[in-house]
Amino acid sequence: MRLDVILRVTTKLILPFMLLFAVYVQFHGDYGPGGGFQAGTIAAAGFILYGLIFGLPAMMRFVPAAIVEALIPLGVLIFAGVGVYSMLNGGNFLDYSHLEHDPVHGQEWGVFLVELGVFITVSSTMIAIFYAFAGRGRGE
């Protein structure tokens, strides 16, 4: 009983920092270890921690299963969309230099958008895997 209170309070304190750390790792992939995949797993771990402590129904109200299943293709679409957009602008597929008016900005935007797509797909995939495993054997 008392342990339950400790876990719940600690989770509520830690969760915002976990998500903040995920966003930090996401944006600092250029200059240090990080990027889309790492940030996606940290963000998903935050949500999953919430689900572990407060129960699966509470987590599913927060992040409905339908939204998670729709986000997975969305991230890949963003990635592939960046590639197609650079194709339409005259370069080859995923040629970031052709995204913007000059190559340097193009490279920055390209990497940013691509990592965003990876972040969305990875975090929603991790949450979807958790939903798939945790939702079994509960009288379904």
């Binding site: 299943e69 729709a70 997975i72 293709p73 890949v76 679409l77 592939a80 590639g83 197609v84 194709m87 370069g91 080859n92 597929f93 995923l94 040629d95 970031y96 230099s97 052709h98």
Partner: protein, 492 residues
């Protein structure tokens, strides 16, 4: 847009997979699958035309130079595999409609088509990429979606088959990655063509030979070379019929493409045939596959498993052609890649049409089906004749090339073995034909009706192709000969 075709070849099925995942209902996802596979076929035929008239196509992803970035490289052999894979997918699309609707629960049909299109993406990607690690990524994309496809089968043994395939396939892919790691450490690049060029200047050959050994074993697990074929019979027998049609005709062939690409373009004669006894090992294993798997096929009572073992035997023919490694031998191996794809596609489509009405494909339950489903069973007989290698079918063309090649290098005993193995094929195909056409209808066969038109047309398209290309082999054998010449003449 024409210059971007290599990338579109992979992107169109990928987009199709994403759209199929977003659309949850069976109807729209089937439409997306059909559209994606037909567009992919159009792109691959255009690429083949471009390669035949204009030479090798090279596409730099991201605009990066090939030594730094990923290059998509299309030559005759790649274009051939692209046409085969997308062709089988396009022909299976109408077949899949009724077959999938009857075998997969309705809420999972959209996911089935998503996995199907992802497998198509992966297989097309392996055939078109010129980067070693990119080939691993596409290999795993196609393999993981194949595991999911197989696991969707009706029988609970499909789950165990998918699990066994997962373990063995992942070990194979990891061996491949280890090999690529050694190659990267010795040459400093991941581009297949550049590795081939730089390997000529390498002094210490031990890492290169290690890489060759790891890559050979890894890819052999994927192409089900005897004795690493253990996953194949269960996986093909218990998978849904559409998955079996697609995977049996394409998955191992693309692994063979990767194998040939490494043996001839990357490593070349010096390493493969002079320093390591790969030729002898391949010949022994191929003959063992042909006779061993053929013998086991005779004793199977489940017809799907019987033809799965037959696939292992036919892959032995292909690797035999590769091992002989002369112009004729390699042509025989490559042309059998196409021919076997056509034959097995037609065979498993016929069995899929049977599975629509009869739940299990046991040989007792198939008795007498020839009277109730004459068109389907005739397609099965035609494809079976192709397996045996009767003159007038594509099987004869492949075996002809192999026999001529064995005489050219002076191994007349090999030619005798090839002819003798056809007798084994006669036995198991004969068992099925005898049961289907010459017995009284069984309990379940009595209630069977002819397969729907959406299944008959693709089945007869493939079965007719096995006869058409057996009589006039100029197209298939001609392109295979060009591919073989390009591979044998490549540097390294």
């Amino acid at each position: 847009m024409l210059q971007h075709l290599p990338v579109l070849q992979v992107m169109v099925p990928l987009f199709g997979a994403l759209v199929a995942a977003l659309s949850r209902r069976p109807g729209p996802s089937w439409l997306v699958m059909t559209a994606a596979s037909w567009i992919a076929l159009a792109i691959s035929v255009t690429l083949m035309h471009q390669v035949l008239t204009g030479g090798v196509i090279s596409y730099h992803i991201g605009g990066w130079d090939p030594s730094l970035g990923i290059e998509y490289r299309v030559d005759v052999f790649s274009a051939l595999i692209l046409v085969l894979v997308s062709g089988i997918a396009a022909v299976s699309a109408p077949f899949a409609h009724r077959s999938v609707a009857s075998e997969i629960p309705e809420d999972r049909i959209a996911w089935f088509y998503t996995m199907y299109l992802l497998a198509l993406t992966g297989l097309l990607g392996i055939a078109i990429t010129g980067d070693a690690f990119n080939a691993f990524v596409f290999l795993e994309v196609s393999s993981l979606s194949s595991y999911a496809l197989i696991a969707l089968g009706r029988d609970r043994r499909a789950l165990v088959a998918a699990y066994q395939y997962l373990i063995l396939g992942t070990i194979g892919a990891t061996f491949y990655v280890i090999g690529v790691g050694f190659l990267y450490v010795t040459t400093g690049t991941l581009n297949l063509g550049l590795i081939g060029e730089r390997l000529a200047a390498v002094e210490s050959t031990r890492p290169v030979l290690t890489a060759l050994a790891f890559i050979t074993v890894g890819i052999s697990l994927k192409l089900a070379l005897f004795p690493l074929h253990v996953w194949l019979p269960n996986a093909y027998a218990y998978a849904p019929s559409t998955a079996t049609v697609f995977l049996a005709a394409t998955a191992t062939k693309v692994a063979i493409y990767l194998f040939v690409r490494y043996l001839f373009t990357v490593f070349g004669d010096r390493f493969v045939f002079a320093e390591l006894p790969i030729q002898q090992v391949l010949i022994v294993l191929s003959v063992a596959a042909i006779f061993g798997a053929g013998a086991v096929a005779i004793f199977q009572s489940d017809v799907k498993r019987m033809f799965a073992y037959s696939s292992v035997a036919q892959i032995g023919y292909i690797t035999l052609g590769i091992a002989i490694a002369t112009q004729t031998g390699l042509t025989g191996g490559i042309v059998h890649v196409i021919n076997h794809g056509l034959i097995k596609g037609a065979l498993f489509m016929a069995l899929g049409a049977v599975a629509l009405q009869v739940r299990h494909c046991h040989i007792e339950e198939l008795a007498g089906l020839g009277q109730k489903m004459p068109l389907t069973m005739s397609a099965l007989v035609v494809a079976g004749l192709g397996l045996i290698g009767v003159p007038g079918t594509v099987g004869f063309i492949s075996k002809w090339y192999l026999i001529v090649a064995s005489f050219e290098v002076g191994w007349w005993w090999l030619a005798v073995l090839i002819v003798a193995s056809s007798l084994l094929t006669v036995v198991y195909v004969g068992r099925v034909v005898e049961a289907v056409w010459f017995r009284e209808p069984s309990e379940v066969a009595r209630g069977a009706r002819e397969a729907p038109l959406s299944m008959l047309i693709p089945m007869w398209l493939l079965a007719g192709a096995t006869v058409f290309f057996g009589i006039d082999a100029n197209l298939t054998a001609g392109i295979a000969a060009k591919a073989a010449a390009a591979l044998l003449g490549s540097p390294g």
